[in-house]
Symmetry: C2
Subunit: 68 residues, 2 copies
Amino acid sequence: MNTLILNVTGMRCMGCVNSVKNLVSALPGVASVEVDLASGRVEISHDPARADLPAIRQAIESGGFQVA
Amino acid sequence: MNTLILNVTGMRCMGCVNSVKNLVSALPGVASVEVDLASGRVEISHDPARADLPAIRQAIESGGFQVA
């Protein structure tokens, strides 16, 4: 497992946090997702052979959030 | 185009509203999505032959929101 740390903007409440968690967790190869609302820091533990950055970015952006 | 009106729970702020709008709008056959945060009312104009309720429900639930 690798750890990917992203800065995600557009999250305003715990509903948004939950949304990002759900969208990323649904990807194959993602083991865990931790989100800090205040900083926008999203830490993703994943198998890089199965879940790559473009797929993770697309999942986050599908919910209207942005990866900085 | 048909209009589908759903009651969606779990939205707490305009970020959540934006998330639901993005997730549903991305489906083929969806023409427009209007969301009222206070009531949870989501009004979806869609082609029922291309976007059916199970697909719409799945898109909303992928973001961690619930269709009542």
